[in-house]
């Protein structure tokens, strides 16, 4: 290897190498960069800020629901709080989180490329993100959007609050997402290292590829249809629901597929074993992307669809469960008889597996028409999608953040504190959302400001769980910030992972590799554990 290997010296070695973080300094050098790694870092800072804002609104909602009567805010403020929470978390955090941060940073490294195919377009995507984010958030705060993140007509066409800046913001965020997806597809098609056929792509790349297809195909459709749904002028509110979910249901997979991709990558590294069922994991990502386009009607079982439509959408929705189950089976198969390394990412992987199965099974339940009629618009549905969106997506985000932290910053985080925080988060998550299943099943509707007294105990439990979650995130923030400044220097490949991204220095130099890597073996190859990585000539 031509890169100098930072061996595990106990003392702080002077960092002789120039890397992507220090080759050029100053805010301007960041704002005008076309380096995919720096753009990934800028996304990281941005989505973490969005997560903080969305989290604060979530806590506000949970605190308000501590008592059956008004607790800390009025009814209108409450409506704005859950709208802000939903819009910020979905459009500003979950959709861009893993593709924007880790996709940008890791994809070219995994492909053995110097950058994404269109580096300037990549820079444009983050500026679009910032523009859309500022418009949407300031629009919501000043205009007081109170429709929920779904903007359902006819309420959204008749609410006195101004929605235009928010919708424009979301529209611009959509473009940011399309640009990123398009860039990734072209990168994967044209910039693979010599020797890297499609069946040697790391599974993270497969997941991002499937995600990008959805971003490119689903996002434009919702585009410019505002103004067509005003019922007072003959517009059809149900048509809005169809078009909204035609984008927003695949968007669920824009959020979930990258999470699955992260897990496929990290689970091999932390069980020190070849991934089980590589092809099936790769194909099931495409399978989810495909059926995801035809499942949107399961959001509309009580919106006046015909019985036939309901049945068709229910069956198609259940196929998502089949593909997800294939993945879970393969992940567990990878863990089975592996040399499992107990570490912070592994705890989150276990959490992820539990949450995706539980969230997936309740997903099958709500996709069953007869059951959904009972659960529709109750906390049961809220709990179900939080199991997927928080349980799976946030776990995967944390796996990625910990697993790739040394790659991105060249420092190690504190493993002990990592485990403590993981404990808080996994337990806190269960405590927050399991009571919500019970609440929903008992009949508590979502988005309601007050509730009968018999629901209070479970609501208090849920808020207590949310506090544990918040404590966990604060601990992570503290030890990762500390690690960034004072953390132990990381060696180039601290996990001894066989992922291609670890073949360059950590942190990588500006153009990723000193020389073009040539791939001669399959991805995630742990056939001879303990041996140095030799299958790639650098």
């Amino acid at each position: 290897m031509s890169q100098p290997v930072n061996s595990a010296e106990p003392a702080e070695p002077a960092r002789a190498t120039v890397n992507y973080l220090n080759h050029d300094r100053g805010v301007w050098s960041w704002l005008t960069t076309i380096d995919h790694k720096r753009i990934g870092i800028m996304y990281l800072v941005s989505v973490l800020l969005a997560f903080l804002i969305g989290g604060i609104f979530a806590m506000a909602v949970r605190i308000e629901l501590l008592t059956p009567d008004p607790t800390i805010m009025g009814a209108n403020t409450y409506n704005r709080m859950f709208t802000l929470h939903g819009v910020v978390m979905i459009f500003l955090f979950m959709i861009p989180a893993i593709p924007g941060v880790f996709g940008n940073f890791m994809l070219p490294l995994m492909l053995g490329a110097k950058d994404v195919a269109f580096p300037k377009l990549n820079l444009l995507s983050i500026y679009l993100y910032w523009t859309g984010a500022i418009l949407a958030v300031s629009g919501m705060i000043m205009g007081g959007a109170d429709t929920g993140w779904t903007f359902y007509a006819p309420y959204s066409t008749s609410t006195p609050e101004t929605l235009f800046p928010v919708l424009l913001g979301v529209f611009i965020l959509g473009f940011s997402s399309i640009v990123t997806g398009l860039n990734f597809i072209v990168t994967i098609h044209t910039l693979r290292a010599p020797g890297m056929g499609w069946m040697r792509l790391p599974l993270f790349v497969w997941g991002i590829y499937a995600t990008s297809i959805i971003q490119v195909l689903a996002t434009p459709v919702i585009g410019l249809t505002v103004g067509l749904f005003d019922a007072t002028r003959g517009g059809d509110p149900v048509l809005f629901q169809h078009m909204f979910w035609f984008y927003s249901h695949p968007a669920v997979y824009i959020m979930v597929l990258p999470s699955m991709a992260v897990v496929s990558e990290a689970i091999a590294a932390f069980s020190r074993k070849n991934i089980f069922g590589y092809k099936m994991i790769a194909y099931s990502s495409l399978g989810i992307a495909f059926v995801g386009f035809f499942a949107w009607g399961h959001h509309m079982f009580v919106s006046g669809q015909s019985t036939f439509e309901n049945g068709a959408f229910a069956v198609i929705s259940m196929f998502v469960g089949v593909f997800t189950a294939i993945k879970v089976f393969n992940w567990v198969g990878t863990l089975y008889r592996g040399s499992i390394v107990v570490s912070t990412p592994l705890i989150y992987i276990c959490g992820f597996l539990f949450f995706i199965v539980f969230g997936g099974m309740t997903g099958i339940a709500v996709a069953t028409v007869s059951l959904d009629v009972h659960w529709h618009d109750t906390y049961f549905v809220v709990a179900h999608f939080h199991f997927i969106m928080v349980g799976a997506v946030i776990m995967a985000f944390l796996i990625a953040l910990h697993y790739w932290f040394p790659k991105m910053f060249g420092r190690m985080y504190h493993e002990g504190w990592g485990m403590v925080a993981a404990g808080f988060i996994v337990l806190g998550f269960n405590a927050t959302f399991i009571p919500q299943f019970l609440l929903g099943n008992a009949g508590m509707p979502r988005r309601y400001y007050m509730y009968p007294e018999r629901f209070q105990a479970l609501n208090v439990a849920s808020t207590a769980g949310a506090s544990l979650l918040a404590i966990g995130f604060v601990i992570i923030l503290i030890y990762l910030t500390f690690a960034l400044v004072r953390g132990k220097r990381a060696v180039d490949n601290p996990w001894d992972s066989r992922g291609y991204e670890w073949l360059s220095a950590s942190p990588p130099p500006k153009h990723n590799f000193a020389e073009q890597p040539i791939i001669t073996q399959d991805a995630h190859s742990y056939q001879n554990p303990g041996e140095e990585v030799e299958h790639v000539v650098i």
Partner: protein
């Protein structure tokens, strides 16, 4: 791979393509930009697709109003604009051919003609818009046209303005692209060896044309 490394530091002469730092070969770069453009055109089609769906549903709901409202568009101006756009699509394709033959002067003339067609299209379109503004046949809450009695005419004009407005926006963007291409052709930057940008600019213009070919019958000929 070392053979291609020299290309990175090699300054391109006039008429030769520039190779970006992260590509190894010109072929790889051409393949990437072509795929990127085709994907982008796909997203453009889908952007219009949402509006076409809205059109389909509401035309089904309000058949009478759509039929009647369509009669209030000027078939003459619409047909003229269709001819203008199709002609411009031909000339931009010929311009690409001319660049590939090394006939930059001819290519420049054809591009200038294409851009003039685009101006002409927008001019005619603004005449039509002016008429609609005068009549009050406007989208959404601004609608106050009294001649159509069937319900749903409001939606027809909302869709009309959304679709033709979005299309006109694409015409303007396309003109900017063509002016940029024209500049490169005049300066000799584009040549038989370096024609991909011209090809992609022309592709975008064809999309603008293609969308109109669907809009024209759906809005004017029903």
């Amino acid at each position: 791979m070392s053979s291609s490394d020299h290309a990175h530091h090699h300054a391109p002469g006039p008429g030769e393509p520039t190779l970006a730092h992260h590509f190894d070969t010109q072929d790889q770069q051409n393949q990437a930009v072509r795929l990127g453009m085709w994907l982008f055109l796909g997203t453009e089609v889908l952007l219009f697709a949402g509006l076409f769906l809205g059109y389909t549903v509401y035309r089904n709901f309000y058949h009478e109003a759509f039929h009647e409202a369509s009669r209030h568009l000027s078939l003459f101006l619409g047909t003229t604009n269709t001819i203008v756009l199709i002609t411009s699509s031909l000339t931009v394709a010929l311009a690409l051919w001319a660049v590939q033959q090394g006939k930059n002067k001819l290519a420049a003339a054809l591009l200038v003609f294409t851009i003039l067609c685009a101006f002409g299209f927008l001019g005619i379109k603004s005449l039509e818009y002016a008429e609609k503004f005068r009549e009050g046949a406007l989208p959404g809450k601004w609608y106050h046209f009294s001649e159509i009695t069937a319900p749903g005419a409001n939606l027809y004009y909302t869709i009309y303005f959304l679709m033709t407005g979005l299309h006109a926006f694409h015409v303007i963007v396309g003109m900017c692209v063509l002016i940029w291409v024209l500049k490169g052709v005049v300066k000799g930057r584009f040549s038989p060896k370096n024609d991909v940008a011209v090809e992609l600019g022309a592709l975008y213009w064809h999309l603008v044309d293609l969308v109109w070919i669907f809009l024209f019958p759906l809005l004017y000929l029903i």
